[in-house]
């Protein structure tokens, strides 16, 4: 009786507690839905982790490691075999020399050994070197550790058992098998702060930083202002508007490499069209090297000014290539502003400029702000454009180009990763500032 009533109580208690309110925690249906959602998101999650988050972390790791471009190829043991004899007669002795080398100039090899087939019927080996042993027709030698770029020689005296025409071909015909495990510089535990020291010590670091900022700020602002103007031009319907809207998107849709090289061709000081036009119009006397000249010196009202030519050109390219995006957004926003507001303003006698200043601009402020933030970050991240236009020369080296320059140009992957860490840190700072000052309710 007692057990039954206890069970009953328990059941009652359970149903009572359920009746008290909605169930807490997830029900089975909800859990199943969540499980399904996780399953559907798993591929995305996996790929993003592997290709985005993991490299991001790995970048920090590499930035504190002494990795050169050449280290990416793992160290190998190479063995070469030399026989200094041609035709031998039975009973002749000659020397077989093996040279064992560590291919890496920087990584040591351990457990180095090799083995080589020897035709035991034709030659007899006299082994003096205690690192080597002779098994069934196979010579094997164990060398242990091999320092970076180290070379070891092993010579073995051989005696011919019969007459051999070409002993060299006979013996060298079989390639020795080499083994040896090198540490992997990416996974070992050698650390260094040299990369960061290098990056920050370089006198040009702050220069690069300023160039990045100027490029980002003016490139973003330029693209935004051009986009605003283009949207204003195409806001009202007229014949050919659809065509022009398509045309205005061209710079963004075309591959960056095509348009960048076109600009290089267009701006070339010797055969470029723009210089030719300016010369022809008598606007300039000597061709301007738009992408190769760091500064143009001139004086304005007695004040000497050095104008950064190449940087300005690169910024102009940025504005040219990315104004279509702001144009598209701003135009869409303009088209969605109701006309009644403008009708009311017309009735009140507001002039066109007043209508723009006091009606359109406030309506566009939000989209302009969002565009500025997003484009700011993306412009800061940009690498291709400057790399293809100038390669970072003539005072246009931004942080992102510096990543490439250090890692590939100077073959120092570690230093490149250190610059990439700086890029990431600056980006994070921007993001934090933006989130702090952005309105909370925006989606």
């Amino acid at each position: 009786m007692s057990t039954d009533s206890q069970e009953l109580d328990a059941v009652r208690a359970g149903s009572l507690s359920e009746a008290k309110g909605p169930p807490k925690g997830a029900g089975p249906l909800q859990r199943r839905e969540a499980r399904l959602a996780y399953a559907m998101l798993a591929p995305t999650f996996l790929i993003v982790c592997l290709i985005v988050l993991l490299p991001l972390v790995a970048n920090f790791w590499i930035s504190v490691k002494p990795v050169q471009l050449g280290d990416l190829r793992p160290p190998e043991t190479t063995v070469s075999e030399r026989v200094r004899a041609n035709a031998v007669q039975a009973g002749d002795t000659f020397e077989i020399r093996y040279t064992i080398r560590n291919s890496s100039p920087r990584m040591a090899l351990s457990d180095v050994s090799f083995s080589d087939a020897v035709p035991a019927d034709d030659v007899r080996l006299a082994i003096q070197d205690d690192r080597c042993t002779l098994g069934e027709g196979v010579l094997s030698c164990v060398l242990g550790d091999l320092e970076p770029s180290a070379r070891e020689r092993i010579s073995i005296e051989a005696t011919a058992e019969r007459d051999i025409e070409d002993v060299e071909a006979l013996l060298e015909g079989s390639d020795p098998n080499a083994t040896g495990s090198g540490g992997n510089v990416l996974t070992d535990f050698s650390f260094t702060f040299d990369n960061f020291r290098r990056v920050f010590d370089a006198t040009e670091f702050w220069n690069v930083m300023w160039v990045s900022l100027a490029y980002t700020v003016f490139g973003t602002a330029g693209a935004l202002i051009l986009g605003l103007f283009a949207a204003l031009l195409l806001n009202e319907a007229f014949k050919g508007r659809a065509f022009l809207r398509g045309l205005f998107l061209f710079p963004y849709v075309a591959p960056v490499i095509a348009v960048a090289y076109t600009w290089v061709t267009l701006l070339d000081p010797n055969s470029g069209t723009l210089n030719a036009i300016l010369l022809q119009m008598r606007a300039i006397e000597t061709p301007i090297n738009f992408l190769g000249q760091r500064y143009a010196e001139f004086s304005l009202l007695g004040v000497p000014i050095s104008f950064p030519v190449a940087l300005t050109t690169v910024i102009a390219f940025e504005a040219w290539r990315y104004f279509p995006l702001s144009f598209l957004f701003i135009l869409a926003r303009m088209q969605s502003i109701g006309t009644d507001m403008y009708e009311a303003a017309e009735m009140d006698g507001a002039s066109p400029f007043q209508q723009f200043r006091f009606l359109s601009l406030p309506q566009l402020a939000a989209i302009l702000a969002i565009l500025f933030l997003l484009r700011f970050i993306w412009t800061f991240n940009k690498f291709d454009d400057i790399f293809l236009l100038t390669g970072g020369a003539a005072g246009t080296r931004t942080l992102t180009v510096n990543v490439y320059e250090q890692a590939i140009g100077l073959s120092n992957i570690g230093a490149g990763a250190a610059v990439a860490v700086v890029v990431f840190a600056v980006l994070l700072t921007f993001a934090l500032i933006f989130f702090k000052f952005s309105p909370k309710e925006e989606g």
Binding site: A58, L233, L247, V256, V259, L328, L374, W378
Partner: protein, 410 residues
């Protein structure tokens, strides 16, 4: 300020900007098309345009547009010919006479027409603020449209035309983009023929197409279920996930490229198209997921619930209800992803060493050498640009939607 608000000021500005702009644009175009070294007399063109504007302003409005246009055009033509002593483009009239005649007529008509358009309804004397600003805006819009069109168009024009010229001809006269059609197709398309015959460009196109199409397929395959889960299903941390997706595509490619380069080198994925096909979808999936989930959210949930009630599984619902309803969004996303993959340069440049597997951007990059003539590089650029442009023009509606939805990336 209001003392300056007169029709005369408008006429002055109109003449000034149209005279200068008209002469520069038409003079340079004449040079480019004819190959003659014209020296556009901008100053004298401005004077002629000012006279035209004055005539237009002085002609009574009641005369009608055509008559005012005629008077104004006659004045401009006369002043132009007198001031330049019969050399309207700084060349004797015998140089490319037909083209020069067309250019002169175009210049006169353009300036006269623009003046009439701006000055219709504008009095000589004081003006009210509204019509004054409206006239000013007419000038600004006209000038802006022309400048923008030239600014956007000129590089593409140079790209195509350079690919038809030879380096020697361009060095001799960089302004000469005249095409000699008498030389025959094989000579005209010499650079293109070279690229396909000696530089494997057919393979590059194929590689680019394979990589881009596979990237689109992989991206959609992964992003569709992900986007559906974020849009429709309830699970803990859903909002966190949706937002962090946005953050992911703020990560710069240049930060990812070194670790991927290092690791892919060691596992021998670097110099392969497979390597690219791992990286490209990873960079596009977050954007695609974000774009798609926005669209899925906008679809009515009731239809899907009805489907579930009628016994469809989730997969069935997605396949039979959600996806057919989102075809336009899928098209936009697919085109946008295709464009990113087709145009991608950094990873292709860093990863690919073997010319047999170059994508188009990598192939064009390999043409950038001082030993190869410029026109080859430009022909390569044209080959890389034309397919994506054709797709863009053909499916512009979807493409524009895709750009607008994903354009925060770039």
């Amino acid at each position: 300020m209001s003392a300056l608000r007169t029709g005369a000021i408008i006429a002055l500005l109109s003449g000034l900007s149209w005279g200068a702009l008209g002469m520069i644009i038409i003079g340079v175009t004449f040079s480019l098309v004819s190959g003659e070294a014209a020296i556009p007399p901008v100053g004298r063109a401005i004077i002629a345009a000012l006279v035209g504007a004055a005539v237009c302003l002085a002609t009574p409005q009641s005369f009608g547009e055509r008559r005012r246009l005629g008077y104004s055009a006659a004045a401009i033509l006369g002043v132009m010919l007198i001031l330049t002593l019969g050399r309207p483009f700084g060349l004797p009239l015998s140089a490319a006479p037909l083209l020069q005649f067309i250019a002169l007529i175009l210049f006169v008509l353009l300036v006269a027409w623009a003046n009439v358009q701006v000055l219709t309804g504008v009095p000589v004397g004081a003006m009210l603020r509204y019509p004054f600003e409206a006239a000013l805006i007419r000038i600004l819009k006209g000038v802006g449209l022309i400048l923008f069109t030239v600014f956007v168009f000129l590089p593409f024009y140079v790209m195509v035309m350079t690919s038809f010229k030879s380096q020697a001809a361009l060095l001799a006269n960089p302004l000469d983009f005249s095409i000699d059609l008498g030389q025959g197709a094989s000579s005209l398309f010499r650079s293109y023929i070279d690229l396909f015959r000696d530089f494997n460009f057919a393979t590059y196109i194929l590689n680019s197409a394979i990589v881009s199409i596979c990237t689109v397929a992989l991206t959609l395959l992964v992003a569709i279920p992900g986007a559906y889960a974020v849009a429709r299903l309830r699970f803990p941390a859903r909002d966190l996930f949706a937002q962090s997706v946005l953050l992911i595509y703020m990560v710069p490619a240049i930060v990812l490229v070194l670790p991927l380069y290092a690791v892919f080198s060691q596992i021998e994925l670097r110099n392969t198209l497979t390597g690219l096909l791992i990286v490209y979808p990873a960079t596009t999936i977050p954007v695609a997921l974000y774009m798609l989930q926005g669209y899925f959210r906008g679809l009515p949930a009731e239809m899907e619930e009805a489907g579930l009630m009628d016994g469809l599984s989730r997969t069935g619902v997605i396949w039979k209800i959600t996806l057919p309803l989102s075809l336009p969004a899928l098209a936009s996303v697919a085109l946008y992803v295709f464009m990113i993959a087709w145009n991608e340069f950094l990873f292709a440049f860093m990863f690919l060493d073997d010319p047999a597997i170059f994508t188009l951007p990598r192939g064009v990059a390999s043409l950038n050498s001082s030993e190869l003539p410029r026109e080859l590089m430009m022909a390569g650029a044209v080959i890389a640009t034309v397919p994506i442009m054709l797709i863009f023009l053909w499916l512009e509606r979807f493409m524009v939607q895709g750009l607008a939805a994903g354009a925060v990336k770039g």
